[in-house]
Symmetry: C2
DNA sequence: CTCGAGAATGGAACGGCGTTCCAGATGTGT
DNA sequence: ACACATCTGGAACGCCGTTCCATTCTCGAG
């Protein structure tokens, strides 16, 4: 043991995240990983059970850091917003995290988010019975965005300006059948100009406003 | 043309849905499809561009039927709930729809849902400027559930009782570190006994309550 | 009625994937 | 120094989506 170039789960996860960030989810294969680590794919399996475990470890890494960053924000409303924004920013920086969160919602990262949000609901004055539903609603909303954002990243030709992309989609929306899609046509201009992060936060605030009516 | 056993996109989609419903997303391959249709995989490509298009066609089929079923429900709040529940029930019956919705949120089925919800917001008294965000929040929430439900279906050994499964997860939640997961431990019993559909609807109502504060 | 062109078919072949297998290298305790 | 467990790396397996192409089928023009 203890060769200087030794393989380890940590090193594998580290390189896997580099590949994911640099080239997207499709580029992470055990062969690519082996090449980057100058080894064969078989060696990797000594440290990692399978691809699912590897992706879970990568995701856990990111989300654990996010939750640590939120720390002990005092005000419960601010803390919930901080958790949500932390997750949003993590997905923005690493779109593959979005895929993973919505693909394995029973895994530890989602549980951490659930705890981070649910734990502040009592302080918000939410009655005990309603807390489970309230926390689920917030987490569901976050996971919905996670999947959507990851899908967008999958679609975007690497490096495409997001504004150009939104403009193209907005144009397609505006060209829809007015009889079948009046609402979509109406909001097409807002799609072109909207800010994802702001809209995400507006949704969180909407749910928080709904939660306040439970008191 | 017009042989009695002729292949067609409709027939392919129909059989694909049978496979998806009977054996899950993993079982849908062009080879399996070819076997069921008594043809080779090459013939299928004459009618369908690729697997993505095939899955999109299957999903579109399901969601179009859902939206038609909702029809012209008069009261806007009831209509929004009907759309949401229709989507929920469709995913419950065909979990692969959940995967597909959250994997391709820019595609037509999600747009139909978006229109079906957004179109009623004006009648609900939501100010014009807030409608885009409100509709997005509801759709995001629905897509979050979609992904989660599909993930659950992927995990469940075919035919496992859902209650047994929930009991097992609840037990795992109850066994977590009390210092790190106080909230999750607290709600574990509620997870065991909760009804997915009710909880989903409670989330919709929570967001609708939040939307009402916008008036 | 014939027959050629386009539509449609089906099965072989390609490249790539996750995963398994195993012969060998490497470092450690005795 | 030697046996042994740990660890490595590359070949091989069985799938997958997709492409390719020789063949069959259908129908309208001559």
């Amino acid at each position: 043991m203890a060769r200087p170039d030794a393989l380890s789960k940590e090193r594998i996860v580290e390189v896997a995240m580099e590949i994911l960030d640099a080239a997207g989810e499709g580029a992470l294969t055990f062969r690519a990983l082996g090449a980057r680590l100058a080894t064969g794919s078989g060696a990797i399996y000594w440290h990692v059970a399978d691809k699912d475990e590897l992706l879970a470890a990568c995701t856990s890494d990111v989300i654990t850091r996010v939750m640590a960053g939120v720390g002990a924000t005092a005000a419960p409303r601010a803390a919930i917003r901080a958790v949500a924004l932390g997750v949003f920013d993590a997905i923005d920086a690493h779109p593959w995290v979005g895929t993973q969160l919505s693909r394995e919602p029973w895994a530890s990262p989602v549980l951490q988010i659930f705890e981070g949000i649910g734990g502040r609901l009592q302080a918000l004055g939410v009655p005990r019975r309603a807390r489970f539903n309230a926390a689920s609603a917030l987490v569901n909303y976050i996971l919905g965005l996670a999947g959507q954002y990851a899908a967008g990243a999958r679609l975007l030709p690497r490096g495409t300006r997001r504004t150009a992309f939104l403009g193209a989609v907005a144009a397609r929306w505006a060209a829809l059948d007015p009889a079948a899609y009046p609402f979509v046509r109406q909001v097409a201009p807002q799609l072109r100009d909207h800010d994802d992060r702001e809209q995400f936060l507006a949704g969180i605030d909407l749910i928080l406003a709904g939660i306040r009516t439970l008191r």
